[in-house]
């Protein structure tokens, strides 16, 4: 049996991230006690997720034990240890959304994208993530894609929004090929 960090190692993609882009962040926070969460947030902004090599680098540079860094990174839901798709669909599962049928939206999105919540489509375009509450309760049920909230949704509308986005991506890539 593998321990968790070894499993993460297996998930790691072959390309090694450029650690130097983190220098500025590390220089700013290295000597500030209690800034590990902030550093991880900034690292995730830079890399899109937290690759294991980056976690090790942070541990070394900030003089914190790697186990502690890993512990913090896995405690908070905001942190991701695997890459995400181009569009992250945040599907709200707050109370108001739940009583207004967010589960039906989830079913429809899973059917359309052929993935489960937490997964990414094979073409790396979409990641579907359930979130606790987006705070737009009067628009329930709501989902958020690239910072834009959509609601109140029906399963049909949710699927159409994804299809539109997909069509736009297709167009863009075809346009790119033609050019």
């Amino acid at each position: 049996m593998l321990c968790n960090c070894q499993k993460e190692k297996q998930n790691q993609t072959a390309d090694s991230p450029d650690l130097s882009i983190l220098d500025e962040v590390l220089d700013e926070y290295r000597d500030q006690a209690g800034s590990l969460v902030t550093v991880l947030q900034k690292a995730q902004d830079l890399y899109g997720y937290l690759p294991l090599t980056v976690l090790r680098h942070i541990a070394e540079e900030m003089n914190i034990k790697p186990a502690q860094v890993y512990g913090v990174a896995t405690f908070y839901t905001q942190f991701r240890l695997t890459p995400v798709g181009k569009h992250v669909i945040l599907l709200c599962q707050g109370t108001a959304c739940h009583v207004n049928g967010s589960e039906r939206i989830e079913t429809a999105l899973c059917q359309e994208l052929k993935i489960k919540p937490g997964e990414t489509t094979p073409d790396k375009l979409f990641t579907l993530t359930n979130v606790a509450c987006l705070g737009c309760c009067s628009l329930a049920p709501v989902m958020m894609i690239n910072g834009q909230a959509y609601g109140p949704l029906t399963p049909d509308q949710a699927v159409r929004i994804i299809k539109d986005l997909y069509a736009r991506e297709q167009q863009a890539s075809e346009g790119g090929e033609n050019a």
Binding site: V37, T38, V72, V99, Q111, C137, S138
Partner: protein, 587 residues
């Protein structure tokens, strides 16, 4: 004349930015030089996007659910000709709507009125006068006394007297003390703090500075959840503006008092709303609670005396200092003074943010302000206090909103989430929903919470799956008791509340699931089937087209049939079947 547009998260989500663009374009077309002011949230989320026209006599006209195409008519008829466009009007100074008329706004006094990114707007409305009064005319003891007279209690959930916390932090020895603003609003279905921070950030900063002076702290930290990017951005702007005007920083307003504020972003952990977990998170650790005492007032952030208050509590402070504690205490009930903000959501006609005097009945909040239940359905329950709270049934609708009365029902006042449920909501499913949440959010430190919530969730899941067994209800109650007793922090202690209240008030629903394998609200998928009535079906094929798994078969103009083996019970068919035929039946 001035035009105001609501740019809170809800407004933006509803399309307010596009409306603003259209508005600017229309004004340009007519060569009109009228100021467009952005503002936060007035609370009428059900009418977003909102647009106010304030005429030269100070009369306000509020237009709701505005789309880009409506702007032309509003500008041409109202702005140019002076005739308000009745069909989009949702509120006006001379004809206030019920949603706003029944409210008393103290914490929300500036929300939806000022531009949250302009400190001048806040100052024009009397902002920072309280801070000035506090640090030039009052001693710290006098301030604490004033807060005591006001009867202000913590608005984050527990309802602990604010003055007591301040006093304890003040009396604990040490040169370095901290004020922490808890803006880690994690309850699903609650958005009071987000709205205050987005709409009136200075009121929170001012409240923190006053608290700092009262307890002897020179540093404040706002712990805000990262899911609120707009709130964080507006706080950052507000802090810079206040520093520039010497309202934050060293020697505030030329006095010896220094106080500065920084923001720390949370990283998504519900348990960090608990004080000791929040402190651990601020220190860059896993956000896990610890045993109290010592209380944060004794040993908090970096082991120093730390006073932690919720956003809404702090937003009330400047008002209390400016108007006097007595003015605050005249509102409310014997033990719960002042007003309370609620986020009204769920199956309600007029959802949004409301502030009412304590002691008003739940019925008044839901029916008078909220306009009753959507689609004229029957009220079933109102959920208060999120995952720590409980569901209050129709029979208790006359319960006043005050700490003690709500606690008696088995729910808690909580931070102010109020989710209304109707007859189509399954209460067992609601209990399962909350347990699923607390079980995921349990930090894992206390065995009872970590394992107990998991076992409770498993039982609830099997009941919803139609595999409930006799004795399950009693087993749930037994584990609930142990989870409550055996947990260190509020998360575990209160995690059983949604289960216990639903058993208490809706036991027959549990029994129907367990004994009759029936979900009375027709929500639990394993216990319902969708069927097409062959006598009613006209064979239009709409349902077959919309079925995501293609399990509805038939020939056009002949009755269709659902293949029960493949049906995923998504409910699309019942939704698309034309109401005049209503051929899809759920049973």
């Amino acid at each position: 004349m001035k035009i105001r547009i609501g740019l809170g998260s809800c407004g933006i989500a509803a399309g307010a930015l596009k409306v603003m663009e259209a508005l600017q374009e229309e004004l340009n077309n007519h060569n009109l030089d009228i100021e467009i002011q952005q503002t936060g949230c007035i609370g009428m989320c059900h009418n977003e996007p909102l647009l106010d026209i304030i005429d030269d006599n100070g009369q306000t006209y509020t237009y709701g659910k505005i789309k880009e195409k409506d702007i032309k008519a509003i500008i041409e008829q109202h702005v140019l000709e002076g005739n308000p466009v009745e069909k989009y009007l949702v509120h006006s100074s001379s004809n206030p709507n019920n949603f706003l008329a029944e409210q008393v706004r103290v914490a929300l006094r500036n929300c939806g009125i000022i531009d949250p990114e302009k400190i001048e707007h806040y100052i024009d409305r009397g902002g920072y006068e309280a801070l000035k009064k506090a640090i030039t005319d009052m001693s710290p003891e006098e301030i604490i006394e004033e807060i005591k007279i006001s009867g202000l209690r913590g608005r984050g959930g527990a309802g602990f007297p604010t003055w007591f916390k301040w006093n304890a932090t003040r009396n604990n020895p040490g040169n370095i003390k901290y004020i922490v603003c808890n803006a880690d609003e994690g309850d699903p279905g609650a958005f009071m703090d987000r709205s205050v921070l987005e709409s009136d950030p200075h009121s929170v900063l001012e409240g923190m500075a006053i608290a700092g002076y009262a307890v002897g702290a020179h540093e404040g930290i706002i712990y805000c959840r990262a899911e609120y990017p707009l709130a964080i951005r507006r706080l950052e702007i507000a802090i810079k503006q206040a520093q520039a005007k010497e309202l934050l920083g060293s020697s505030i307003l030329g006095t010896p008092f220094s106080f500065d504020i920084k923001i720390k972003q949370g990283a998504g952990a519900f348990v960090c709303g608990e004080e000791t977990a929040l402190i651990a998170s601020l220190e860059g650790e896993r956000g896990m609670p610890r045993l109290k005492p010592p209380f944060p007032a004794q040993s908090g952030y970096w082991g120093r005396p730390t006073n932690i208050n919720n956003v809404e509590t702090l937003a009330n402070v400047p008002w209390i200092i400016a108007e006097g504690g007595q003015a605050f205490a005249v509102r409310g009930s014997e033990t719960s003074k002042g007003t309370k903000v609620f986020a009204l959501a769920g199956k309600i006609n007029r959802g949004g943010l409301v502030e009412v005097p304590m002691g008003l009945s739940l019925r008044d909040v839901i029916y008078k302000i909220g306009g009753g239940i959507k689609e004229n359905r029957n009220f079933k329950a109102v959920q208060l206090g999120g995952p720590s709270g409980g569901c209050i049934p129709a029979a208790l609708l006359d319960t006043p909103v005050e700490y003690e009365s709500i606690t008696q029902t088995g729910a808690i006042m909580g931070s102010g989430g109020m989710v209304v449920m109707d007859e189509t909501t399954c209460m067992v499913d609601v209990a399962r929903f909350f347990l699923d949440f607390t079980q995921k959010e349990s930090c894992g430190k206390c065995v009872q919470c970590r394992i107990g919530t998991k076992r409770m969730l498993e039982i609830l899941e099997r009941i919803c799956e139609g595999e409930g067994q006799p004795g399950d209800i009693e087993l749930l109650q037994e584990i609930a008791l142990k989870v409550g007793e055996g947990s260190l922090c509020g998360l575990g202690q209160s995690a059983p509340n949604p289960v216990l209240t639903t058993i208490r008030y809706f036991r027959e629903e549990y029994e129907a699931h367990i004994n009759e394998k029936r979900c009375p609200a027709m929500q639990c998928k394993a216990l319902i089937t969708y069927r097409i009535d062959p006598d009613k079906c006209k064979g239009c094929s709409l349902c077959a087209k919309k079925c995501p798994v293609n399990c509805i078969k038939g020939e056009r103009k002949k009755p269709y049939v659902i293949d029960q083996e493949q049906c995923i019970k998504c409910g699309n068919c019942i939704e698309v079947c034309p109401t005049k035929w209503a051929a899809v039946i759920v049973e």
